[in-house]
């Protein structure tokens, strides 16, 4: 039984997240926690009073006024959250997922996800949320924080779901990547799908050997596997290949750079999530 945590919000990605969860449910046995997190309330929408005067009982009056505003907003947010979750639950039930629970929580998204981590094997999240501006190619700010902080496998849903037939697995020859391959081989979700291992590196005998070793693991698990070593920047090479050969899913290992370095340079993983137009699975 794979325990899936699906993150739902009001953006159009919610639909796609449900579709991805449903697809996973069609591949293996799952129980789903549908989670909607009501974030810190918006600061700037309060009516502004610039009169600058305070009279008797100013503190109490102001406290009442502000709490009243917050209470109203919170009620609306709760109602909306319940509706979103119920909608998502209906979608999943219709797709045949039996074990669904809905959770509505207040607070910070990342903290909440970490709270749920213990009872989760796999997280499904949209590439962007309702808060993100919709300039193309941008990632949601929450997405990046979730990807960074969680220790669970995560599937990042693209805007619309397409049935997954062909899988591209990014491989860098490191031990983390090898572990990720092992995970894929043992997991029933991707079993039997046509997959391709790609390594963005110089085409040397050693790299060839590494990628062949990895492919043996997958072949043994019954995957039809191709391999290729391509010269170039990983972000570029891999996203080009996804587009050209019409892959439906990109699988890769987790962040490997140091946090400090990625703070300034942006990590390969983030860049890959950004540039590929397909769902991305990050294995840990």
């Amino acid at each position: 039984m794979t325990k899936v945590l699906a993150l739902i919000d009001g953006s159009q990605y919610a639909q796609s997240v449900c579709d991805h969860v449903a697809w996973i449910g069609s591949r293996t046995d799952i129980s789903v926690n549908l989670l909607h997190v009501i974030g810190r309330r918006d600061l700037s929408t309060e009516p502004v009073n610039l009169s600058g005067n305070i009279g008797l009982g100013a503190r109490t009056a102001l406290l009442e006024e502000l709490s009243e505003l917050d209470a109203q907003k919170a009620k609306v947010a709760h109602k909306r959250g319940r509706l979103l979750l119920d909608g998502a639950k209906d979608l999943l039930s219709a797709a045949g997922v039996a074990q669904i629970e809905t959770k509505l929580r207040n607070g910070d998204l990342v903290d909440t996800v970490l709270d749920f981590e213990k009872q989760t094997d796999l997280i499904v999240i949209g590439k962007r949320g309702e808060g993100a501006d919709f300039a193309k190619g941008h990632l949601g700010s929450n997405l990046e924080r979730v990807v960074r902080s969680t220790r669970k496998a995560i599937v990042i849903a693209s805007r619309a779901f397409k049935p997954i037939q062909k899988v591209l697995i990014a491989f860098d020859g490191g031990s983390t990547a090898l572990k990720a391959i092992d995970q894929v081989a043992r997991n029933p979700i991707l079993r039997g799908l046509a997959c391709k291992l790609v390594m963005a590196a110089t085409d040397t005998a050693e790299n060839r050997r590494k990628i062949e070793d990895a492919s043996i693991i997958l072949k043994a698990a019954g995957f039809p596997v191709e391999t290729e070593v391509v010269q170039g920047e990983p972000e570029k090479v891999i996203s080009d290949m996804v587009e050209r050969d019409k892959f439906d899913l990109l699988v890769m290992g987790a962040y490997s750079h140091s946090r400090l370095r990625s703070l300034f340079l942006g990590s390969t993983t983030t860049e890959m999530i950004r540039s590929c137009k397909v769902p991305v699975a990050i294995i840990r």
Binding site: S44, L50, G52, L56, A58, T60, L62, L260
Partner: protein, 496 residues
């Protein structure tokens, strides 16, 4: 955590830009009168308070622990330094400011913010009310022995402040008050006191300077008492204000960071020729009300303050004091907790006494720290007195009339010792006495001594004494109850 740290930084600074900038502007207007008024109280030029307000507000925006809270030169700290300035002069004030800042940094590093838990609700209310009264009293010199015209001006100012918002809430009414009253007084050529009469206003940006004092132990002895009081009062008001802003905005703050931040701001302010300050309850409420939430609001308040003073300096000196008095009366009214007067009837007598004692202590000594100390002590005494009542001794006599068993229940400590002693009848001639303390908590040495005395007295009357359950009862006597070590220990303590 790098990204998260940057994310927090970004949201604390730029999460609410429009609201923060506007609120900062409104708050700056409410800072000017307080900075000027309390420079005068402390006996220094308005320049000192204005520099301090600018510097503290701008620095605390970066290093404070409570975004959206306004700190500057305040009433609470200014009233403490009156005698220092009078007896020793400005340079000692600056040195005391630096030292107060250093003490606050140490307090923050030692995490003394937790001590705030001993300041009860009633003491806080008393503090706030006392502060409001201090602010109001500070206006009295401007209201006594002045021409009748001044009263008219102040009344007009208050009318503008409170009535103008009914017209529009998009222009700060204190600004309207200042502009209108200044225009009228210049136009009619009224002969009333203006800001310019009160001393030198800043004409340049503040510069770094080292207080010109002899660096020796005598100096330290002079400034230390003042610095300690300023540090204590500053932290009290800041932590209290932080709590108020926490409640208003429903967001958390880092109290210990606020202590350290306050210290850094004060230390630096001493070196640019400003006096010590702390958070301001009234101005912080104005900030929140005006839509200020982030660090940017505090920063803007400081920057606008300096801008107004430097650029509009000539005009500022012509503002009639009556306009500033009106604004300060408004701040005082807004700071005062009106509901505390209403609550006097309904709240328990003891909490009302604590509140009133705090107010009287402050108003009498002009030192908020002393008032709070009185309040905290009184709360502790009242609390002990209440707890001492959770205590009962019952006894049964055996059928043969020779053996009495006393059963002690409840809390036994210094305040209950008298009751404890009175509950035993030493006149009764007994062969054997059993004192069962297994249902009691023995909290301190006083109660142990009392128990010893009782055993001794019974022996002298010829009775054999046996004490039951002493080990259990005295588990509470150790200073630190090691409840978490042993499973079920808490239940045992509670279950007595």
């Amino acid at each position: 955590m790098n990204r998260d740290f940057l994310g927090t930084l970004k949201s604390e600074w730029f999460g609410n830009v429009k609201g923060d900038v506007l609120a900062g502007l409104v708050v700056a207007l409410a800072l000017i009168p307080e900075a000027i008024a309390f420079s005068i109280i402390a006996g220094v030029d308005p320049k000192i308070g204005l520099y301090a307000s600018f510097s503290i507000a701008v620095l605390i925006a970066f290093v404070g622990g409570r975004p959206g809270m306004i700190s500057a030169a305040t009433a609470a700290t200014a009233v403490l330094m009156v005698t220092l300035v009078r007896d020793h002069g400005l340079q000692y004030l600056l040195a005391a400011t630096v030292l107060a800042g250093l003490i606050q940094i140490v307090a923050g590093v030692l995490k003394l913010g937790y001590v705030m838990r001993f300041v009860s609700r009633s003491v806080m209310t008393g503090f706030v009310n006392a502060l409001a009264i201090l602010i109001f009293m500070a206006q009295l010199p401007e209201l006594i022995n002045v021409p009748a015209l001044t009263y008219l001006m102040v009344a007009a100012g208050l009318a503008i402040i409170y009535l103008f918002p009914y017209l529009t809430k998009s222009i700060p009414s204190p600004l309207v008050c200042i502009v209108v009253l200044t225009a009228i007084s210049i136009f009619f050529g009224f002969d009333i006191r203006t800001v310019g009469d009160m001393g030198e206003l800043p004409s340049t940006l503040p510069v770094f300077l080292i207080p010109n004092i002899p660096l020796n132990i005598d100096t330290l002895m002079i400034i230390l008492p003042y610095s300690a009081a300023v540090a204590a009062v500053g932290l009290l008001e800041s932590l209290m204000t932080a709590q108020i802003v926490d409640d208003l905005t429903d967001t958390p703050s880092d109290k210990n960071r606020e202590c350290v931040g306050q210290g850094i701001a004060n230390t630096a302010t001493g070196f640019i020729g400003g006096m010590a300050g702390c958070a301001m309850i009234g101005q912080s409420i104005i900030n929140v009300k005006s839509g200020g939430r982030g660090r940017l609001s505090t920063f803007c308040a400081g920057i606008f303050l300096l801008f107004m003073i430097l650029v509009l300096g000539g005009l500022v000196s012509r503002i009639p004091m009556a306009a500033l008095v009106a604004i300060m009366i408004m701040v005082s009214i807004g700071t005062f907790s009106w509901s505390s007067i209403k609550n006097l009837k309904d709240h328990p007598r003891s909490s009302s006494i604590v509140m009133i004692a705090t107010v009287i202590g402050v108003v009498y000594t002009h030192n908020l720290a002393i008032g709070v100390l009185i309040g905290v002590l009184l709360s502790a005494i009242f609390f002990a007195w209440k707890i001492a009542q959770i205590f009962r001794i019952t006894s049964v006599l055996s059928s043969d009339g020779n053996h009495r068993t006393y059963k002690v229940e409840g809390q036994v400590f210094f305040a209950s010792v008298a009751d404890f002693n009175n509950a035993f009848d030493f006149k009764e001639a007994l062969d054997k006495v059993t004192i069962d303390v297994s249902q009691a908590h023995i909290w301190d040495i006083s109660s142990v001594a009392a128990l010893d005395m009782i055993v001794l007295k019974f022996r002298r009357e010829g009775a054999e004494v046996e004490i039951l359950g002493l080990n259990q009862a005295s588990e509470t006597i150790v200073d630190r109850l090691a409840i978490h070590d042993k499973p079920g220990a808490m239940e045992r303590l509670m279950g007595h």
